[in-house]
Amino acid sequence: MTALRRLGSALLAPAIAVVFAVVITALVILLIGENPSTALQVLVDFGDTPAQQTQAIVVILNRAVPLFLAGLAVSVAFRMGLFNIGVEGQYRMATVLAAGAGAAVALPAPLHILLVIVVAMAVGALWASIVAILKVTRGVSEVISSIMLNFIALGTASWLLTGPLRGSEEGAAIITTEDLPESGQFPGLNGLFDVVGLAQPRGELYGFLLVAIVAGIAISVLLKRTRFGFDLRATGLSPSAATASGIDARGMVLKTMLISGAIAGLIGLPDLMGRTHHFGTEFTAGLGFLGIAVALLGRNSPIGIAFAALLFAFLDRAAVPLQFADIPASVVTIIQGTIVLAVVIANEIARQLTRRRAERDTGQGGPPAAENPPGGPAGTAGSRIDEHQGTGA
């Protein structure tokens, strides 16, 4: 298989999904009596002045950074077949505690930033480890426990916010933690616009973008180039083959969830350290769930997730302008939802196509009917019978 073909098959599913989502959304907009082309114009209209245009780019990038981290966190677990639905809870817990810890101490800038990051990652990892421990010791499905822990996390975060970590005035409408001191804030990257000769936007480009890029590269290297990554992917592809090869499945569940949770801990930090400087009732919610969608769309590869995060951020940016054009902002949510649904289907189709082509290329692939009886991998039917033979004989 040439590199080009491999790339083609990797892009096929997401491309189909996006086109499908656009068509569906156009139909929905038509149905509510608006003009789809207006919506499209709003989506791609970044403004008239150079400053407005760079501002639009900043908005997209700033939104894409936490989405990317969320997708990354989900994908790491997903690569070994674990559904970490608990990213939402993990990042909420991490952000509120990191905000509290960051506001409570005074340190020189780099150390202060490092402390906030370390606290967030540790909290995220710890929270995720509950899921892992329940799974390896008690066999609790990680889907169930992580969903339940989301509720507990949201509740605990609210309690922390209104109780021990409360920084805002008594009786204020918006409850927040105390602001991070300047030394704990992540510097922005607006200098970059001068370097490349673009107009300065109103807002600040998150410096955390760099952390996200480093995290992406680190995870990519970890998965593709290291023994640990191989063990992780092998477990995801076939738990039974992985165990037989000497991989300790329980250990892998724990380690993978720790990594996934640590990345999840980072999700809230771009907003916390770059914009709000405190955690509060208005803090960005739902990133963990969007992360699942982003990971799916990006097919669990860091590069793919980066593009998926940018696409979602690009769509999110249009939410406000759409309302100016009398089109409900929920159009964006519809597009995103349809993409995810379509990508799940398209992924499966693309997987089958690739597999079939691989089999055709060798002309081997065995007789599928005999070796792969429907309803399970080869051998299950036979071994089931064989097990019973012991009692029958």
């Binding site: 691989a358 060798t362 005999a370 029958g392």
Partner: protein, 525 residues
């Protein structure tokens, strides 16, 4: 379908000039890049047992799929009872009176025989399953063909032979007059094979036609009325089982001399590599599935474990590999007690593992070959350097394995799923050999591979044995066990019940031990 087998009798009563029950003329089936079947000529008379023999991968399955309507041929015609027929789907084939008994049974364990038989074509009365009618018809079929089935037993409680008869009943229930049996003896011990042949004679007597796919030549000569040989996708001729020797058949089949598993001189040395002392493995319910197994494998020795599948062999292998906890006993590798070691440490200490089910335990099907080379060797060069995967090392070594072990694939980036069973197995064998293990656990090393790969794997095992490797061989192929082993242990209900000398043992005797008929411990299955 309603006409049932009764319709067949009239046709069977005809003279020898009656049209063939099944006739294939010039069938060619191409898949992109390969011709799976080419100019197949097959003539099956009504009321005969017609065997189709050929190596795995020779095109038997493709041909049977054509006949069962699972795909359509690119060229050629299918004639059933002299009429040209187009089969678009298995439903068409069933309607035309063709039934297929698959090699892997497709039965629901927690359904009764009756429910399994009628599943998919249930007789109904007022919208509900008409059990009385179904029971009557199944009893009728069972009696007429001497299948000896009780409609109300759970399939779970049946042995392999009974299950196969349920499959046959399923096909007869749908009114089949021509039955295709795909490798029906692969899962049976010799005694059960004889029972099956009795059933086939019964079917024949009632005028049904049986197409019997196999590569076991002795069986074919025993049961078939005529034989068609397939080699490399095409029919190379037909043979009369009464006048053809197994050797002649084999030569038609492979186009050369048949390989033999026979080992040469003994290479057994003194030093033990593996000692099991009272190894006991408990099932989930606490019942011992391996019960006090004690055995020794020495350097240069092949110890064969014989037994009907499901008598604890798989659990024994798991226990040696560290995949299942021991309830009691110790496993000693060389002079170290490895009972508490992890699977990885055991592998690193020099145990190679050819698992029973290569798809489940031996490969990552959706990963490229070079990644499959790493599997099980994640901690050892040339696949890894420190904490990192050594891509070029792994790829180069995969190329070496493909070359030395004749793994036929386009390249190291090919997905494992795209390889045939034989090539997958050769890759696994090559991979396990590449770390020069002291002990090799070979569970069904030649299951589902073609004769060429089989002889290659046998040769590799023999060479490894000569170099001093200890081999624990678990197999269902009695010839393989007798031919390769220096010592044979028989496993029955979790216990090692007999130690036999393969030099003076026939497959029939071994089969007797496997079912417990020889040790007086209980009745056979």
């Amino acid at each position: 379908m309603a006409e049932g087998p009764a319709g067949a009798h009239a046709a069977a009563a005809g003279t020898g000039d009656a049209p063939y029950a099944v006739e294939l003329r010039g069938i060619t089936k191409r898949f992109p890049g390969v011709v799976a079947n080419r100019d197949i000529e097959l003539r099956v008379r009504r009321g005969e047992v017609h065997a189709i023999v050929g190596e795995n991968g020779a095109g038997k399955s493709t041909l049977m799929k054509t006949l069962y309507g699972m795909h359509r041929p690119d060229e050629g015609t299918i004639l059933l009872d002299g009429r040209e027929t187009t089969l678009r789907s298995p439903a068409d084939a069933i309607a035309a009176g063709i039934g297929m008994v698959h090699q892997h049974f497709m039965l629901a364990d927690y359904f009764t025989v009756l429910e399994n038989v009628v599943l998919g074509s249930e007789p109904t009365k007022g919208g509900r399953l008409d059990r009385a009618e179904a029971r009557r018809r199944i009893r009728d079929i069972s009696e007429r063909y001497a299948l000896d089935l009780d409609p109300d037993v759970l399939v779970e409680d049946l042995g392999v032979g009974d299950r196969q008869r349920v499959e046959i009943a399923k096909v007869l229930y749908r009114g089949a007059t021509t039955l295709i049996l795909d490798e029906p003896t692969a899962v049976l011990v010799p005694q059960e094979v004889d029972e099956l042949f009795g059933n086939l004679a019964e079917l024949k007597r009632e005028g049904l036609t049986v197409i019997f796919i196999s590569h076991k030549l002795d069986e074919v000569r025993k049961v078939a009325d005529s034989i068609t040989v397939i080699r490399r996708g095409t029919t190379v001729g037909s043979a009369d089982p009464r006048t053809t020797t197994a050797r002649q058949l084999a030569e038609m089949m492979v186009g050369s001399e048949l390989p033999s598993p026979q080992t040469r001189t003994s290479t057994v040395r003194e030093t033990p590599v593996l000692e099991l002392r009272g190894v006991t493995v408990a099932s989930l319910t606490g019942r011992p599935v391996v019960d006090g197994a004690t055995l020794t494998v020495r350097e240069g020795e092949v110890v064969g474990i014989a037994g009907v599948e499901g008598n604890g062999q798989a659990e024994l292998v798991d226990a040696i590999m560290g995949l299942r906890p021991l309830a009691a006993g110790t496993v000693v590798l060389g002079d170290e007690d490895i009972s508490a070691w992890s699977t990885r440490t055991r592998r690193e200490a020099g145990i190679g593992f050819i698992p029973e089910d290569r798809h489940r335990q031996g490969m990552l099907l959706e990963a490229p070959l070079w990644e499959n080379r790493i599997l099980g060797h994640q901690t050892r060069p040339p696949a890894v350097k420190g904490a990192f995967i050594d891509r070029s090392g792994a790829r180069a070594d995969t190329e070496r394995i493909m070359r030395e072990y004749d793994v036929r694939a386009p390249g190291v980036d090919t997905l494992a799923v795209a390889l045939s069973g034989g090539n997958q197995q050769k890759l696994i064998v090559g991979r396990e050999m590449s770390s020069a293990p002291r002990l090799l656990i070979a569970a069904h090393p030649t299951r589902g591979v073609d004769v060429g790969a089989q002889s290659a794997i046998w040769e590799l095992l023999k060479d490894a044995r000569a170099e001093g490797m200890g081999i624990l061989l678990i197999s269902a192929d009695l010839d393989e066990l007798i031919g390769l082993s220096d010592t044979l242990q028989v496993m029955l209900r979790g216990r090692l019940v007999a130690t036999l000398d393969p030099a003076s043992l026939t497959p029939e005797e071994l089969g007797g031990h496997m079912t417990g008929a020889h040790d007086g411990a209980g009745s056979a299955a």
